[in-house]
Amino acid sequence: MKTPTIRAAVVALLLLPVAACAGSPQKGGSGPERDTLVWASSAAPNSLDIAHGFNNASTTIQLAVLDTMVTLDAKGTPAPALATSWTQPTPDSYEFTLRKAVTFTDGSPLTADDAAYSLSRHLDPAVASQAASYFTTVKKVEAVGTDRVRVTLTRPNTAFLSVAAIAWQVVPRKLAEAHPGDLGSPEVGTIGTGPFKVAKFSLTSGTVLERNESYWGPKPALRRVEIKAISDAETLRMAVRSGEVDATDGLNARDARKWTGLSGVTTSFYPGNNIAYLALAVGNGPLKDVHVRRAIAHAVDREALTTLMTGGHGTIARTVLPMPQMTALYGDNMPKFPDYSFDLAAAKAELAKSAYPDGFTMAVPYASGSDGATVMQAVAADLAKIGIRLTMEPSPGDKYMATLMDHRGLGVQYVNLSYGTPEPVEVLPDMISRAAAEPQGFNFSGYGSAELDARLDALAGATGQERQDQVTALLTEIGEQVPYVPLFHMDNGIALRDGFTATGLSVWNPNFFAVIRPAGK
C-alpha cells in the first residue's frame, strides 16, 4: 500500500515538467529563421538614451537604433554618418552638412533642428546628461538653413569630432524636448534613424529590435535581434552552450578558457579601450616620496598579474593610456617611455633612497569579491617582499565605490577604466588635472599642478605632430613621477554560435548587430 503512493507522487512530479515541456520548441539555435539573432548581455540596458544610459549594455542598443552625426572608421578617424561632410571655418567651430532625405522610423523627416537640439540637450542641467562632461567645450549649437548645423566651441578642441561620434546621437527634437529626464526609458522609448528600430524595450523581459527597412545606409543582414540580460556568468555560458543564446559580449577575458572550449561556439577577442592601473595617492605619507613610488613600480610583477587577470587575452600596460589610443596616436612609431621592470633588487635600491628604507605599513581599502580584490592581494604579496606591508581593508562594492569617489582614505588603489574615443585628452585630464582630483573626479593620485592644467588645455587644441609631442611629454612625466603604475590592458570578446559570423569587429566599431551576420550571407 505504501509503495504505490510514493511512486504516484514521484511520477506526478516527473510528469509535470515533461508535459509542460512538450508544447514548447527550443528557441534560437537551429531553426530555419537564421536571420534572427538572440543576443545576451550580462547587464540589462537601463536607457536607450546615452544621457542616462552611458554603459555597455545600453550603448550597444543605442548604436543599433540611433545614428550619430559622425562616426569612427576602423582606424579611429572621424568619418561621415548623418553628416555627409563638415568644415572647420575657424579652429573653434564646425559646420556639418546633413545627409538628405533621411527619415526617422516614425516617418518624420530628419531636420537640422533635430540634429542641433540632440547635441545642445546634453548641456541642459535639467537633462543631467551622463555625456555632459564630453561636451564642456561646446558653447552654441544652431541649425543653419535646412541642412546645416553649426557648432561653436569655447576653445579649439581636437577631440570634439571623436566624442561627437560616440555621444551626439540624433533623436527627434519633439520627443527629446517632451522628455528631458526620461527619454529612452521603457515607457518613453526612443526613435532614431539607425539600421534597427525598437519593437520592444523592457528591463524585465528584454529588448527586441527589427531591421529598419528604410535605413539610408547598408542594410544589416539580421532581420530581428532579441536581446536578453543574464547577470549570472555561469548561467549565461550555459545559455550559449545550450543554443538558447546565439551570441554574447558578456565574457570576461579572465574566464576565456571556459568559453574557448565550448563546442559549436567561436570566440573572438580584440583590444579593448581600457587601462588597469594602480593609483598612488601622492599626498599620503610615504607615497609622497617618488622613490617609494618607483620602488612600488619595480616590485609589482606585472607580467604575472596580466596573465592572472586577462587569461592570455590582454597585454602589459607601459603607459596610462589604453592600447588602442596609443596605436591611434603613434602607429608603429611608439616612443620609449620610462618603464619599471619587475626587479626586486632595483625596488629595494629605490626604497633605500627614500625616507623609508625598511618599508612601512599602509591601510588599503578594496571592494571585496571584485577584480580589485584579486589584484590587491597579488600586489600586497609583491610589496611585502620589499618591506611594504599593505593592510587589506575589504568593504562591500558600493561602499568602497562611494568612499573612493569621495576621495577619502586614498592610498594604493586599483582602478580599471574604459574609454570611448581614440583621444588621449579623454583620459589624461582624468589622470592629472586638478579638477579631477576633487571628489567625484577620477584623479585618485591627486597628482596635478597649475602648470599641468595649462599643458592639458594646450593639448586639447593641439593637432598633428605637436599633439603627439605633447602627449609624449606628459606620458614621460607620469612615467618618471609614477603617480600611477600602469598594469594591463584587457581584451574585449564576443562569443558566437555556429551559424553566425562577425567580420570587421573593432574597438572603434562595436556595432555588433551591424557586424554579425548569418553564416554564408
Partner: protein, 318 residues
C-alpha cells in the same frame, strides 16, 4: 463580528508596522555611504553643474526628516515615485516583475505541498520503517543543499545535458512560462518540501495515538477516510502556518534562484535597487514585502477558522 474585529485590529497593526518599516528602510539607505549620484552619473567624469542639478532634483541636500516627508507625502497619495535607475514609475517596475515572482512562488508552493504533504503522511504511516528512514534522510539532504547549488545542478542536468528545459528567462505565453519556471520552482521547492515533509510527519505522528483516530478505525471507516478526513485535517494547522510563511518568503526572497535562472523578479530587483541606492524602488519593495507578510498571516489565521471549528468558536482569543 469577532472575525471582523480581528481583521480590523490586524489592519490597524499593519499600518503601524508598515510606517515603522518605511522609516527604518529610508533611514538605513540614507545613512549608508554613497548616494544615487553614482547611478545617475555612470562611471564617467561628470560636470559640477550636472551634479548640482541631480542633488537638487532628488533633494539630496535636505535633512532626513524633510526627505522622508517628501516621500511619504507622495506615497500616501499612491505615488511611489520614479525609479532612479530606469526612470520608470516604481509601480510599473514592480508590476512588470511581479508576475514572474508570483508565478515562481505559487509554482514552488504547489510542488512543495504536492510532494511534501503526501510524502510526510507516508512517512508517518510507516513510522520507523525503511521507507520512513529513507524519507527522513532524503529530506535532510535536500534541506542541506542551498538553493543556488540546487539551481546549478538542475541547470546542468535538465537544461544543458538533457535539454528538456530552457536555461534562463521566464517565457512569454502561459505554456512557455510553465516550462521556464519548472526548474527554478523545483530548486526553490526542494528544501521547502523537505521542511513540509518533516512538519507533516511530526503532526501526523502526534495524531496517530489520538483516541478519535483509534475510534474511527474501530468504527471500520476506510483507511483513506481516516487519514484524509481525520488525520490530514487535524494536521493541517501547523502545515498551513509553514505554507504561509514559505509563500511570503518566496514572494520576497527567491533571490538566488532568480539570479541563477536569469529571472528578472522582485528578489533580483531588491538587491539591485539597494546597491544602486534607488530609494523609491527599495521603499516600495519593502512596503510591498511587509504587506505580503501581514496579508499572508491574516489569511492563515482566517484559514484556521475554516479548517478548525475549535478555533472558530474561540476566535476572539486569536
Amino acid at each position: 463580528m469577532a472575525v471582523l474585529s480581528l481583521v480590523a485590529r490586524r489592519l490597524a497593526a499593519a499600518l503601524v508596522l508598515l510606517g515603522a518599516l518605511s522609516v527604518i528602510t529610508y533611514g538605513l539607505l540614507v545613512a549608508s555611504p554613497g548616494g544615487p549620484e553614482q547611478v545617475l552619473l555612470g562611471t564617467r567624469p561628470s560636470t559640477p553643474e550636472t551634479r548640482a542639478a541631480i542633488r537638487a532634483e532628488y533633494h539630496l541636500d535636505d535633512p532626513f526628516p524633510l526627505r522622508y516627508a517628501h516621500w511619504l507625502g507622495d506615497a500616501v497619495h499612491g505615488d511611489f515615485g520614479v525609479s532612479i535607475y530606469s526612470r520608470e514609475p516604481v509601480t510599473d517596475v514592480i508590476a512588470d516583475r511581479l508576475p514572474v515572482t508570483a508565478g515562481l512562488a505559487g509554482y514552488a508552493l504547489l510542488i512543495t505541498f504536492a510532494v511534501g504533504v503526501p510524502v510526510g503522511l507516508v512517512a508517518a504511516m510507516g513510522r520507523g520503517g525503511l521507507l520512513d528512514q529513507g524519507i527522513t534522510l532524503g529530506s535532510l539532504v535536500l534541506l542541506a543543499v542551498p538553493p543556488f547549488a540546487m539551481s546549478i545542478l538542475l541547470l546542468y542536468g535538465f537544461a544543458v545535458a538533457l535539454g528538456w528545459f530552457p536555461v534562463f528567462g521566464a517565457g512569454d505565453t502561459f505554456m512557455e512560462r510553465v516550462t521556464h519556471l519548472t526548474l527554478p520552482a523545483v530548486a526553490l521547492a526542494a528544501a521547502q518540501a523537505a521542511m513540509v515533509v518533516r512538519q507533516m510527519r511530526a503532526a501526523a505522528l502526534d495524531l496517530a495515538g489520538q483516541d478519535f483516530l483509534t475510534f474511527a478505525r474501530a468504527r471500520g471507516l476506510p483507511r483513506t477516510r481516516v487519514w484524509i478526513g481525520y488525520a490530514l485535517r487535524n494536521a493541517a494547522l501547523p502545515v498551513l502556518t509553514v505554507g504561509g510563511l514559505l509563500l511570503a518568503a518566496n514572494l520576497t526572497g527567491a533571490l538566488f534562484v532568480e539570479q541563477a535562472f536569469g529571472l528578472h523578479g522582485l528578489g533580483a530587483l531588491l538587491i539591485a535597487a539597494v546597491s544602486q541606492k534607488d530609494i523609491p524602488v527599495v521603499q516600495a519593495l519593502v512596503l510591498f514585502g511587509g504587506a505580503i507578510v501581514v496579508a499572508v498571516n491574516l489569511l492563515i489565521d482566517l484559514a484556521y477558522l475554516v479548517v478548525d471549528p475549535r478555533v472558530r468558536h474561540g476566535a476572539v482569543a486569536l
